[in-house]
């Protein structure tokens, strides 16, 4: 008789568990949708607003003066590419070097703690303040806006992200791998570069791309440094156009024609960032698996 009641109790508990499981799963799915939905919504909206303004011209022509139809953002695209290239050239090596120092050589030292703290503070600096800082440091002494200052601003902004992710990824490399290298009679610096960094390379690259994607869309720091340009420019000492900057300028303008171009620009910006990231992923993943010599 007692067995019967026990069985019923078990069944009831079992059903409650299944129900709870279902509710939890539903909540998880709902949360995911809530997070992803805005991203998808933005993307869809951009396509809706901007796709119609896309044309071949957009990619090969420079902006026309107000009132004239047509024109594109070709110079802004090229300019962004140059600025991001310059920024990466500055930010990535410095960031990786910092991360390597924090994880491999300075662990526990006061200097390392100071470096880490500085990186975190730098990370929190508003991008406009960064722009003003570079303005004071480079633009004023040089007496002109330049691509160089823009690249520097972007580069500095990349450093904290690259540095911290590099450190995290290196710390995740199991100590056994380091010991294996040392036990072979490999000097420490070489072991760090050739073994530890290489083992963490996938993660480090991800960190670099995170930094890249973040600064690719930065507008504020470029306002006082790169300044923007209505025409082609390739000299580091001249002001240069940048896609986010151009979008900003067009978006706050009173002209409809420019608004349309701004939407198109925003769409192109996001797509280009996604493409750049995917390309890097593809190229590096193939390299790592082959154990490139």
């Amino acid at each position: 008789m007692g067995d019967e009641r026990l069985k019923n109790e078990h069944e009831l508990r079992s059903r409650i568990r299944t129900l709870t499981d279902g509710v939890a799963t539903a909540l998880a799915v709902l949360s995911t949708i809530l997070v992803v939905a805005p991203l998808v919504a933005i993307f869809v909206y951009l396509i809706y607003k901007g796709a119609s303004s896309l044309s071949w011209d957009f990619f090969i022509k420079v902006p026309k003066p107000v009132g004239e139809a047509g024109g594109g953002m070709a110079n802004a695209i090229a300019g962004s590419a140059l600025l991001l290239g310059l920024g990466s050239l500055i930010g990535i090596p410095v960031g990786i070097a910092g991360g390597v120092y924090l994880a491999e050589f300075g662990r526990g030292t006061r200097l390392a703690n100071a470096v880490r703290f500085t990186a975190d503070v730098l990370n929190g600096v508003p991008s406009i303040v960064m722009g003003i800082a570079v303005y004071s440091l480079i633009v004023i002494p040089q007496r002109h806006f330049s691509a160089l200052s823009g690249g520097v601003a972007l580069g500095i902004m990349m450093i904290p992200t690259v540095c911290r992710t590099t450190e995290e990824m290196l710390l995740m490399v199991p100590n056994a791998v380091r010991e294996a290298a040392l036990a072979l009679g490999v000097p420490n610096w070489r072991s760090v570069l050739a073994i530890t960094v290489r083992t963490a390379s996938a993660g480090i690259i991800t960190g670099c791309m995170l930094a890249f994607a973040r600064v690719a869309g930065e507008t504020a720091p470029l306002i006082f440094t790169a300044f923007g340009n209505v025409d082609w420019s390739a000299k580091l000492s001249e002001p240069i156009a940048a896609l986010p900057l151009q979008i900003y300028v067009y978006a706050i303008s009173p002209y409809d024609e420019w608004h349309r171009l701004a939407w198109a620009g925003a769409l192109v910006l996001i797509v280009l960032i996604m493409l750049a990231v995917s390309l890097v992923r593809y190229v590096t993943s193939r390299g790592v698996m082959k154990g490139a010599n």
Partner: protein, 252 residues
């Protein structure tokens, strides 16, 4: 060819912890010597003093002398040089995860600047043959990564990697403890064959393993070496009661 190791008054510390106390022993060349003892007795620390890996820990300290083939490894040599002559295989197989099998074996050579492709190929083949892994991987040398092998194969890969730099001494810290019985037997057979070319020191929890592969055995307890004698004597009629209590399992 292997060389002998003479340890005199070796003491080691981790910070304030006096891990090894007054260790004196002579490890014969071209033999396998086993070190047994309960957890925390210092046998792993001892072995790491033989290739100066102990000092990779910033709070580690060593006094006393270790002569390998007559060379004082602390006074007359740099750690990096010693580690090329004294190879080490660890408890958990640790192949370099992002490298192929070939690159793993060649790592010690390549990272020290060796570039000649043909010679590298020969050395890789010879090392893999010496560690009884060649037949199983010869077709996938550059296609498969080191981490894609089974546990027993990974450990033999690590042995091949250590052998590739042509050491005189091979230190093995519980090399088979993470492996199944069949892999363990393979590793033991391997040690038997390697004895003729290298001096082998093997730390093991498994007394039957020490009995199977080593000519001499040392018993460590609480940082001291209690007894060091032929394996046969240690396991049939040890001189010290503490040794006997340990090997008959009466500890505690």
């Amino acid at each position: 060819m292997g060389v002998g190791i003479e340890v005199t008054n070796l003491n080691a510390w981790y910070g304030a912890n006096h891990t090894l106390q007054d260790i004196n022993l002579n490890i014969p060349a071209n033999h396998a010597t086993a070190l047994i003892g309960p957890s925390g007795c210092g046998k792993s620390t001892f072995v790491r003093c033989l290739n100066r890996m102990h000092e990779t820990n910033p709070i580690a300290r060593v006094t006393g002398s270790v002569l390998i083939g007559g060379l004082d490894i602390y006074a007359d040599a740099k750690p990096v040089e010693i580690r090329r002559r004294v190879g080490m295989v660890f408890q958990r197989p640790n192949p370099f995860p992002t490298m192929s099998i070939y690159d793993n074996v060649a790592a010690g050579l390549k990272l020290n600047g060796f570039r000649n492709r043909r010679v590298l190929d020969e050395i890789v083949e010879r090392s893999l043959k010496n560690s009884a892994l060649w037949d199983e991987v010869k077709d996938d040398l550059k296609k498969k990564s080191g981490a894609s092998l089974s546990g027993g194969q990974q450990q033999r890969l690590c042995i091949a990697r250590a052998l590739a730099v042509d050491p005189e001494v091979l230190l093995m810290d519980e090399p088979a403890s993470a492996l199944d019985p069949v892999s363990t037997s393979k590793i033991e057979d391997l040690i038997f064959q390697l004895k003729s070319q290298y001096t082998i020191v093997i730390v093991t929890h498994n007394m039957q393993q020490a009995a199977r592969v080593a000519e001499k055995t040392g018993f460590f307890l609480n940082g001291r070496m209690i007894e060091f004698d032929s394996t046969q004597k240690i396991f049939t009629n040890p001189s010290d009661k503490r040794t006997e209590d340990y090997i008959t399992g009466r500890f505690g």
